[in-house]
C-alpha cells in the first residue's frame, strides 16, 4: 500500500527537473498523452489531426503550438485546444483542458498537470479513489435496490394496464347495453309524450301550446345534454347544485380568461397609457415609489391598495379559506381532481369569486325540467302520470349512467394511449402527485397532468404535461401561467435514481423557468447499473493492478 502511494510522486520527479528548461525535452515528450494515443506519435513525424500539417516528432510537446487543433501539444498549455491526459493512478484517468496545465492550480489528483515548479501539488488519488469507490458502491447498491422496485413497478403497471383494459372492455359492453336501453326508453318516452301532447291539446289549447313549446325547448336542450357527456368530463350523476354552478362558472371562466389576458396586453396600451399618466401623479409618495420600482422588478403593485380595500381583502380571504376547504372536501375524488386542463386550484378559487354578486344563478336543465315544468304539466294528467314519470325517470337514469360510462371510457382510452416510458414503467404515476415544500411555497407535480406552485391557498400553474424529454430522463411541463414581463411558466423535472420516490431541488434559475428533480426507483435503469458496475470494477481492478 505504502509503495503504491509513493509511486506516482517518484514519477513526477524527472518532470519537475525538466520544467525549468521551459521547452520540454525528449523524456517528457509523452507528457499528457493518453495510452491509446501513444501509438499515434510513434513515427518520426505525425499529422495534425485536422490534416492541416505534418509535424516532425521533435516538435511534439515542445511548448509551441504548431497544430491549431492542438495535436502536437498534449502535454503543455501551448495550444488552446489540446487536452492533457493525467493517469491518476489509484483513481480514474482524466482529460483536462490545456488551460489547466501549469496554471498554478492542481487539477489532476496525481498533480501531473502542474510540473513547472510554481505550484506544489500532492498526490490525492488514493483518497479520491477511495472516496469515489465508496460512493460508487453506494450508488450501485441504490441502483440494485431501485431496479428491483422498478421491475415490480413495470409488472404492476402491466397488471394495472390489463385491469384497465378489462375495465374498458366491460365498460364498453355496459355502454352497449345502456345505449340500447336508452334508445328503447327514448322511444317509449317519446310516444308517451306524444300522447300527453294530444291530451293536453284536447283539454286546454292555449295552455297546451304554451306548455308544449316549453317542453320542446327543454327537451331539445336535454337532448344536447344527453349527447354531450361523451366529451364533457363532469359526471352528470353526481351533479348537485354546487357542482353545477361550478360547471357554469367554469365555462365562463375559461371563456373569459383569454380576453382578460388580451385586455392586459399590447392592444390596450394606448388606453392605459393615457390613464397611467395622471394616475401616477395621484398616487401617494409611497405608492409612487412602489410603482416606479415595479418597472424594474416587475413586482405587481396590485396588492397595495388603499387601506379600506385591504381590509376587505383580509376579511374576504378569511371566508374564502373556509369555502375553499369545503370545496376541496367535496371534491376529494383524486381521479378527477386533475382531469381537466383548467381544473386546478387557482381556477377553482376564482370560481368562488363571482358568487358574491347577487346575479341570478342560471338554473340547470334538470332543475327546470323536473321539479318545474314536469310537475306543473303532469299534475293535470292523473291518468298517465305515474307511468310517464316512471318512463321518464328510467330514461333519465339510464342516460345519466350512459354518459358516466362514456366518460369513463374516454378517460381510460386516453390513458391507455399515453406514453408511460419505454417499458410503461411510469404507469402508476398517472394517479400520483409529488409535493415539496420550499419556504412558503408548496410545489405539486402530477405527472401526465400538471404542475403547480401553491402559496397558501393561492395557486400558480407551472405547466401542463408536455411529455418526457431527453430520452425519458426528464418530464416537461409547459404552457403554465404567464409571467409578468416574462414567458409562460414551465417546469423541467429531471429524473434521478433513488430508492424512495421524492421531489427535490426545485429551483427557478431564471424567471419562471423552473427545474426540479424527481428521485424515484422507477428511473433506476439496468443499463446504468451495468455502467456503474463496470466503472466500479475498473477502479477496483486498477487498484489491484497497482498493488
Amino acid at each position: 500500500m505504502k509503495a503504491w502511494k509513493e509511486h506516482p510522486r517518484l514519477l513526477l520527479l524527472p518532470l519537475l527537473l525538466v520544467s525549468h528548461l521551459h521547452s520540454a525535452s525528449a523524456t517528457s515528450q509523452s507528457l499528457g498523452i493518453s495510452p491509446q494515443d501513444l501509438k499515434y506519435f510513434e513515427g518520426s513525424a505525425f499529422w495534425c489531426r485536422d490534416g492541416s500539417k505534418r509535424i516532425p516528432k521533435e516538435r511534439l510537446n515542445d511548448n509551441f503550438c504548431d497544430c491549431e487543433d492542438g495535436t502536437d501539444e498534449p502535454g503543455t498549455s501551448a495550444c488552446p485546444k489540446s487536452k492533457f491526459y493525467c493517469k491518476n493512478v489509484g483513481y480514474v484517468p482524466q482529460s483536462l483542458y490545456s488551460s489547466r496545465v501549469n496554471d498554478g492550480i492542481c487539477d489532476c489528483c496525481d498533480g501531473s498537470d502542474e510540473y513547472d515548479g510554481f505550484a506544489k501539488c500532492t498526490n490525492t488519488c488514493w483518497e479520491a479513489g477511495k472516496a469515489s469507490r465508496e460512493k460508487l458502491v453506494k450508488k450501485v447498491n441504490v441502483y440494485r435496490e431501485g431496479l428491483k422496485i422498478r421491475r415490480s413497478e413495470i409488472e404492476s403497471g402491466k397488471k394495472l394496464r390489463e385491469q384497465n383494459d378489462i375495465t374498458l372492455k366491460s365498460l364498453r359492453k355496459e355502454e352497449k347495453v345502456l345505449n340500447e336501453q336508452v334508445q328503447k326508453l327514448k322511444v317509449e318516452k317519446e310516444s308517451i309524450e306524444e300522447r300527453e301532447r294530444r291530451e293536453r291539446d284536447a283539454r286546454e289549447k292555449i295552455a297546451k301550446e304554451e306548455a308544449e313549446r316549453k317542453l320542446k325547448e327543454e327537451t331539445a336542450t336535454g337532448n344536447i345534454a344527453d349527447q354531450q357527456p361523451k366529451t364533457d368530463v363532469v359526471e352528470v350523476n353526481s351533479v348537485d347544485e354546487s357542482q353545477n354552478t361550478d360547471l357554469v362558472h367554469h365555462e365562463t371562466e375559461v371563456d373569459s380568461a383569454p380576453t382578460a389576458d388580451e385586455t392586459a396586453e399590447a392592444p390596450e396600451v394606448h388606453l392605459t397609457e393615457l390613464q397611467e399618466e395622471p394616475k401616477l401623479d395621484e398616487l401617494s409618495k409611497e405608492d409612487l415609489g412602489r410603482v416606479v420600482a415595479s418597472r424594474w422588478t416587475g413586482e405587481d403593485t396590485t396588492v397595495h391598495v388603499p387601506e379600506e380595500h385591504q381590509d376587505h381583502h383580509s376579511a374576504d380571504e378569511a371566508t374564502d379559506n373556509q369555502d375553499h376547504d369545503a370545496d376541496i372536501d367535496s371534491d376529494l375524488e383524486p381521479e378527477h381532481e386533475y382531469n381537466e386542463e383548467d381544473d386546478y386550484a387557482a381556477y377553482r378559487e376564482e370560481e368562488q369569486v363571482p358568487e358574491t354578486p347577487p346575479e341570478p344563478r342560471k338554473l340547470s336543465w334538470w332543475e327546470r325540467f323536473i321539479p318545474g315544468a314536469l310537475k306543473r304539466v303532469y299534475n293535470r294528467e292523473p291518468v298517465n302520470k305515474s307511468e310517464a314519470d316512471r318512463i321518464r325517470n328510467q330514461y333519465s337514469e339510464a342516460s345519466t349512467k350512459l354518459s358516466t360510462v362514456q366518460h369513463q371510457i374516454s378517460e381510460l382510452e386516453s390513458k391507455l394511449k399515453g406514453d408511460f416510458g419505454p417499458e410503461g414503467e411510469f404507469y402508476s404515476f398517472h394517479e400520483k402527485c409529488f409535493e415539496l415544500k420550499v419556504q412558503k411555497y408548496n410545489y405539486k407535480v402530477c405527472p401526465f397532468k400538471q404542475a403547480i406552485q401553491e402559496e397558501g391557498h393561492m395557486s400558480t400553474r407551472l405547466g401542463n404535461w408536455d411529455g418526457f424529454k431527453d430520452n425519458y430522463t426528464a418530464m416537461m411541463f409547459s404552457g403554465g401561467d404567464r409571467c409578468w414581463n416574462g414567458p409562460d411558466r414551465s417546469l423541467r423535472v429531471k429524473l434521478r435514481c433513488g430508492v424512495r420516490t421524492e421531489l427535490r431541488n426545485v429551483d427557478e434559475p431564471s424567471r419562471c423557468d423552473y427545474v426540479a428533480e424527481l428521485v424515484t426507483p422507477t428511473f433506476c435503469l439496468e443499463s446504468k447499473l451495468q455502467e456503474l458496475q463496470k466503472k466500479l470494477d475498473q477502479q477496483v481492478s486498477g487498484v489491484h493492478e497497482e498493488l
Binding site: 483542458y97 416606479v292 397595495h304
Partner: protein
C-alpha cells in the same frame, strides 16, 4: 429576484402573476380592484418603454424655457442687451475684468482669466456683489492643477481688445464692447464665447412679495427658494465641422443640431437620471453628465468644459435657429442677422444653459484630438489604472441567487473552458436591500464562497447603493440618522425617498465627513463577510429615487453647507463613487487598487473608477449605439467604460448575444449582465456554435490583455482613451468625422461591430494611407477606402491591425487572467510600407501602487531594417521597488513580409546570444483554417523584460 421590501410579499420562486392567476378567492370587489389596477399598470409595464412624459422637457422647466426663448429673441435683435468690459487689469498673474451688462452697474460681473501649461485657459465669471455665494463644485479639479498655472506677464491691446499670449502661437483676445472671449491662432479664430451676445448670469435676488419662483412638474413642486439664477451663454467653434461630447446619451457621436431652420428638437440635457428602458436614439440625458464639448475639423481640435454640476441644457445651433418657434420665417432675417460678416466661415454655435452655479470654463486649445483630451484630463485627472483582473471579463446577473448558484456558474465556466475573472452579486444578495449585509438564507457563508472563487484567482463584486433603508434595526441607518449624515428635504428633515429597500434616506456625499465615515464601512471588520477578493459596484447613484421628480431627488433638497441639491445634482453620484473608492483604498491601507463600478458619473470620474452605460436593452439598436456612447465617454476623459453585453432588459437571441460578445471583447469594461426577468444567458446555454463563438470572443479579449493593459496605463498617464474615434489617430481624414459604427482600440486595432440580424456584410472604412491587416487571417486592406467586408457569425466581427504597429498578446487559454501571469508572450508585428513597425508593452503587478515607486516594466518594440528590437522605456534611475518578470516571448508573428522573405527554411538570430531561431509560415492567429500569410518565429524565448534584438536571416 428583486422585491421592494416592506410589502409583505417578498417573493422567491413565485414569479409574476397573470391577471387570471392573480384573482385569489376574494370577493368580487377585490377581483375588480385587482383587474382595474392590473390593467392600469400592466399597460404601464408593457407600454412604450421610455416613459417620456415622466421627464421634463425644456419647456417644462422654468429656467430652460425662459432662457431658451429669450436667447432666440435676443439673437433676433429684440430687446438687445450688451455686456461691456469696463475695467481690465492684471492681478496675481491673472486677468481681472469688470463686466457690466446693459449699463447696469448693480449687476456687474467679475471675470478672472488664467492660463495654464499645455494650452489651457480658465475663465471664471461671478457676480461682483450678490446676496448669496454661488456653489462651486469641489473635488473635481485635481489638487496640483494650480501648480500648472502660468503667470500672465502683460496684457496687450489691439483694436479695443485685450490680448494675452499663449504658447503654441495661440492667444486669447478679450473684446471689450461687446464683451467676447476669443481664442485665436494667428488670424484664425478658434473658439469664442459670447460672439452671439447670449452671455447672461441671472443676478441673484432676494425674494420679494409676489415673486412666484416655484416650479411644478407633475405632482412634484420645486420651491426654488433662491429664484432664477441661470448661467447661460454661447460658445462657438470656428472652422469646425462637428461637435462631440456632453455625455451621457444614446445618440450619434457627432452631435446633431437641436435648433435650426428645419430643426426643433429638445436641447441636449445634462441631468443625471435613472431612465427606465432608455431608447437607443435620443438626445435625452442619462445616468451621467460631463459638460465637455469637443470640436474637430481637419485643421484642429478644440475643447470646452464648464465646471458646473447643476442641470444643464445645451443647444447645438444650425442656421436659422433664432426663428424656431416664430411663426413666419423670413429667409432674409434668418441668414442676414445671424452672421457677423463671416458667412463663408464654417462654425458650430452652441448655447449652454445651466440652472444655477457659476461660470467656470476651461478652454482647451488642442490642436490635436489627443491634446484636447490630455488638456482636459490635466484639469480633472487622468484615468485610474485599473487592476488587471478588472480589465478581463466580468459575469453579472440580477441575480445570482445563492451560493449554489454562484458555485454552479463558476463551475460552468470551467466546464466549458470559458475564461472569466469576476462574478457579480446584485441587490438580492443582501438582507432586505440593506447594503453590507447578506441574505442569511441565500448566502449563509459569504467568506467561504469568496474563498472558493478566490482559489481560482477570480474575484467577486457586490452592489452597494447610496440609499439607506430606513430601518431602525439597521445600524448603518441608525448611525447615519443620529449623525445627521442624510440629505435633508426642503423642510430640514431627513429626506425620505423610495428605492429598492422601500423607504430610504440618502447619504450626503457632498460632506467630506460623511465620505470619510462611509469609507470606513468597507473595512473587513465593518463589512462582515467581505474578503480581499471582494470589490464594489455603485448603482442608483444619480441618485435614483423612485417617488421623486423624474425618479430622482427634489432639487430643493439640502446638502452639507446648505447647498441645494439643484447645485450639485450631477456630481452627487461622483462623490458617492469617490467615497466608496476611498473605502476600498483604505481597506488595504493604500496597497490595493480599488475597483468600484459606478452608473452615475461627472467630470473627473475617470480618476476614480469605471462606469457602464446603465440599463440598456437586448436589441440591435443598443449594440449599435454602444459605440458612439463609448466614443463620447472616451473623448470626455472616461477611458474605462462598457455597455452591458447582452442588453440588460429583454432576451437576446443567441446570434445577437454572440455579436454582442464579439464587440464587447473590445469594450474597455467587458461585462455580461441581464435583468432579473430575463432568461439565463451564461455563454454556454445556447449550444453550438454559439458556445464556441462566445468562448472565442471572450478568449480574444484575454489574448489582447497585455495590449489593453498597456493602453490603460497610457490613459492613466495622459488621459487618452482606449476607445478612440478614427479621427483621433487620423485627424485629417474627413471621411471619419461622422463615423461611429467603428472605432480604434488604442492606436492599432480597428474594430467594426456587426449590428444587424443575419448580416452578410459590413461596410468598413479603413482610415489613413497605410494597410490594415485582418487580425485572424492576415488579409490586407488599403487605407482611405470603404470596403464591403463579408461577415458570418463564425468569422466574428471585422477587426484589423494597423500597419506599422506591434501588438503584444498572450495566446494561451486560461481560466482567468490570474493564471496568465507566467504565460509567454506573442508579439504581432504588422509591417507598414516602410517595412517598419513599433509598439509598446507595460507590465506591473496588476494590483498595487508599487508602480509609483518604479515597480514596472515598460518596453518599446521596434521593427526596422529587418530587425526587431526591444528597448527599455522605463526610467533607469534607481527605484525603491522593482517589478520583474520571467516571462518569455514564445512567438513573433510578422505580417506584411515580402514574398521573397516569406519562404520556409529561413532562420532568425537572437543577436546578443547568437542563437538561431526557426521560422515558419503560418496564420497570424491560432484559428483553424486561417490563411498562412505571416512569418512565424518559433520559440525565440527571449525574456520580455530584457533588451534584445532579433534579426531576420
Amino acid at each position: 429576484m428583486a422585491s421592494v421590501e416592506g410589502r409583505g410579499r417578498a417573493r422567491s420562486c413565485e414569479g409574476k402573476r397573470t391577471p387570471a392567476a392573480m384573482a385569489s378567492p376574494g370577493g368580487l370587489r377585490r377581483l375588480l380592484w385587482c383587474v382595474a389596477i392590473v390593467v392600469l399598470f400592466y399597460g404601464a409595464e408593457f407600454g412604450a418603454a421610455w416613459k417620456e412624459a415622466e421627464f421634463r422637457k425644456c419647456h417644462q422647466s422654468k429656467f430652460c424655457k425662459d432662457v431658451r426663448e429669450r436667447a432666440a429673441a435676443w439673437a433676433r435683435g429684440e430687446s438687445h442687451r450688451e455686456i461691456e468690459v469696463r475695467e481690465i487689469s492684471l492681478k496675481d498673474g491673472r486677468v481681472a475684468a469688470r463686466l457690466v451688462p446693459a449699463g447696469n452697474e448693480d449687476e456687474a460681473l467679475v471675470l478672472e482669466l488664467s492660463t495654464y501649461r499645455d494650452g489651457i485657459v480658465r475663465v471664471k465669471v461671478v457676480e461682483e456683489t450678490a446676496p448669496r455665494k454661488r456653489f462651486e463644485v469641489p473635488q473635481v479639479v485635481v489638487n496640483d492643477f494650480e501648480e500648472k498655472r502660468l503667470g500672465i506677464g502683460s496684457i496687450g491691446r489691439r483694436d479695443g481688445a485685450s490680448v494675452v499670449q499663449l504658447s503654441g502661437g495661440f492667444e486669447v483676445v478679450i473684446q471689450h464692447k461687446p464683451f467676447q472671449v476669443q481664442v485665436k491662432r494667428g488670424d484664425d479664430l478658434v473658439l469664442s464665447i459670447n460672439s452671439k451676445n447670449l452671455f447672461d448670469i441671472q443676478h441673484l435676488q432676494v425674494k420679494k412679495e409676489g415673486d412666484d419662483w416655484e416650479d411644478s412638474f407633475r405632482s412634484h413642486n420645486d420651491k426654488r427658494p433662491h429664484g432664477p439664477q441661470t448661467v447661460s451663454f454661447d460658445v462657438s467653434f470656428h472652422g469646425s465641422d462637428h461637435v462631440y461630447g456632453i455625455p451621457e446619451r444614446a445618440t450619434s457621436f457627432a452631435l446633431k443640431p437641436t435648433k435650426g431652420a428645419n430643426i426643433n428638437s429638445e436641447p441636449y440635457r445634462l441631468f443625471n437620471l435613472d431612465v427606465f428602458e432608455y431608447l437607443d436614439e435620443s438626445p435625452f440625458g442619462l445616468y451621467g453628465s460631463i459638460p465637455v464639448m469637443v470640436s474637430h475639423s481637419k485643421k484642429r481640435t478644440v475643447g470646452f468644459f464648464l465646471l458646473n454640476a447643476a442641470e444643464m441644457q445645451i443647444d447645438v445651433l444650425a442656421p436659422g435657429w433664432e426663428q424656431v418657434g416664430i411663426e413666419q420665417v423670413s429667409d432674409e432675417s434668418s441668414s442676414g442677422k445671424r452672421s457677423t460678416g463671416q458667412n463663408e466661415e464654417k462654425r458650430v454655435d452652441t448655447h449652454w444653459i445651466a440652472e444655477s452655479g457659476v461660470f467656470d470654463a476651461f478652454l482647451f486649445v488642442g490642436p490635436s484630438p489627443k491634446d484636447v483630451v490630455a488638456q482636459y484630463c490635466s484639469v480633472t485627472g487622468t484615468s485610474a489604472i485599473p487592476q488587471l483582473f478588472s480589465t478581463a471579463y466580468h459575469q453579472c446577473r440580477w441575480n445570482y441567487k445563492d451560493e449554489a448558484d454562484v458555485a454552479g456558474v463558476d463551475a460552468g465556466f470551467d466546464e466549458h473552458d470559458i475564461p472569466y475573472d469576476t462574478i457579480w452579486l446584485d441587490i438580492e444578495h443582501t438582507d432586505g436591500k440593506k447594503y453590507f449585509t447578506w441574505d442569511k438564507n441565500l448566502f449563509p457563508n459569504p467568506k467561504e464562497m469568496q474563498n472558493k472563487i478566490g482559489a481560482k484567482g477570480r474575484h467577486m463584486v457586490t452592489i452597494v447603493d447610496p440609499h439607506v433603508k430606513r430601518d431602525d434595526n439597521f445600524p448603518l441607518h441608525k448611525e447615519a440618522s443620529s449623525y445627521g449624515y442624510y440629505v435633508k428635504d426642503s423642510s430640514g428633515k431627513d429626506f425620505d425617498g423610495w428605492c429598492w429597500p422601500g423607504a430610504s434616506s440618502y447619504l450626503d456625499m457632498l460632506s467630506p465627513e460623511v465620505r470619510s465615515w462611509w469609507a470606513t464601512k468597507f473595512s473587513y471588520s465593518n463589512y462582515v463577510g467581505s474578503t480581499p477578493i471582494l470589490y464594489i459596484w455603485n448603482d442608483m447613484n444619480e441618485p435614483s429615487v423612485f417617488n421623486g421628480p423624474e425618479t430622482t431627488m427634489p432639487k430643493d433638497a439640502i446638502h452639507y453647507g446648505g447647498v441645494e441639491h439643484r447645485d450639485l445634482h450631477n456630481a452627487y453620484g461622483y462623490y458617492y463613487h469617490m467615497a466608496s473608492v476611498q473605502g476600498l483604498y483604505q481597506r488595504e491601507r493604500g496597497t490595493d487598487r480599488p475597483f468600484v463600478l459606478s452608473r452615475a458619473f461627472f467630470a473627473g470620474t475617470q480618476k476614480i473608477g469605471a462606469i457602464w452605460t446603465g440599463d440598456n436593452t437586448a436589441d440591435w439598436g443598443h449594440i449599435r449605439v454602444s459605440v458612439p456612447m463609448l466614443l463620447t465617454l472616451g473623448m470626455t476623459g472616461i477611458a474605462n467604460a462598457g455597455a452591458d453585453v447582452g442588453g440588460f432588459f429583454g432576451n437576446p437571441d443567441p446570434e445577437m448575444l454572440t455579436r454582442w460578445y464579439q464587440l464587447g471583447t473590445y469594450y474597455p469594461f467587458f461585462r455580461g449582465h441581464g435583468h432579473l426577468d430575463t432568461k439565463r444567458r451564461e455563454p454556454w446555454l445556447f449550444g453550438e456554435p454559439y458556445t464556441s463563438l462566445m468562448r472565442q470572443a471572450i478568449s480574444a479579449r484575454y489574448q489582447i490583455l497585455p495590449y489593453v493593459y498597456t493602453l490603460f496605463k497610457e490613459a492613466s498617464v495622459t488621459g487618452i482613451p482606449l476607445v478612440r474615434p478614427l479621427w483621433m489617430e487620423f485627424p485629417e481624414d474627413e471621411s471619419t468625422f461622422t463615423r461611429d459604427d467603428e472605432f480604434l482600440l488604442g492606436p492599432s486595432l480597428l474594430v467594426h461591430g456587426v449590428y444587424s440580424e443575419g448580416a452578410k456584410s459590413e461596410k468598413v472604412y479603413f482610415p489613413g494611407n497605410e494597410t490594415w491587416y485582418d487580425v485572424k487571417s492576415g488579409a490586407t486592406f488599403p487605407g482611405g477606402k470603404e470596403v464591403e467586408i463579408p461577415v458570418t457569425l463564425d468569422s466574428g466581427i471585422p477587426v484589423y491591425q494597423r500597419a506599422g504597429s506591434i501588438i503584444p498578446k498572450k495566446l494561451r487559454h486560461r481560466r482567468s487572467s490570474t493564471q496568465m501571469q507566467n504565460d509567454p508572450y506573442t508579439l504581432v508585428v504588422a509591417l507598414d510600407s516602410k517595412y517598419e513597425a513599433e509598439g509598446e508593452l507595460y507590465i506591473d503587478d496588476g494590483k498595487s501602487y508599487e508602480f509609483e515607486q518604479g515597480a514596472f516594466i515598460h518596453r518599446r518594440f521596434k521593427f526596422a531594417k529587418g530587425k526587431l528590437t526591444s528597448t527599455n522605456l522605463a526610467p533607469t534611475k534607481s527605484n525603491p521597488k522593482k517589478f520583474t518578470s520571467s516571462c518569455l516571448v514564445e512567438r513573433i508573428v510578422i505580417m506584411g513580409v515580402r514574398a521573397r522573405d516569406l519562404v520556409t527554411g529561413k532562420h532568425a538570430v537572437v543577436e546578443s546570444e547568437d542563437r538561431w531561431i526557426q521560422t515558419d509560415i503560418g496564420a497570424p492567429s491560432l484559428i483553424q483554417g486561417a490563411y498562412s500569410s505571416a512569418l512565424i518565429l518559433r520559440l525565440p524565448n527571449v525574456r520580455i523584460a530584457d533588451d534584445w534584438s532579433i534579426k531576420l536571416g
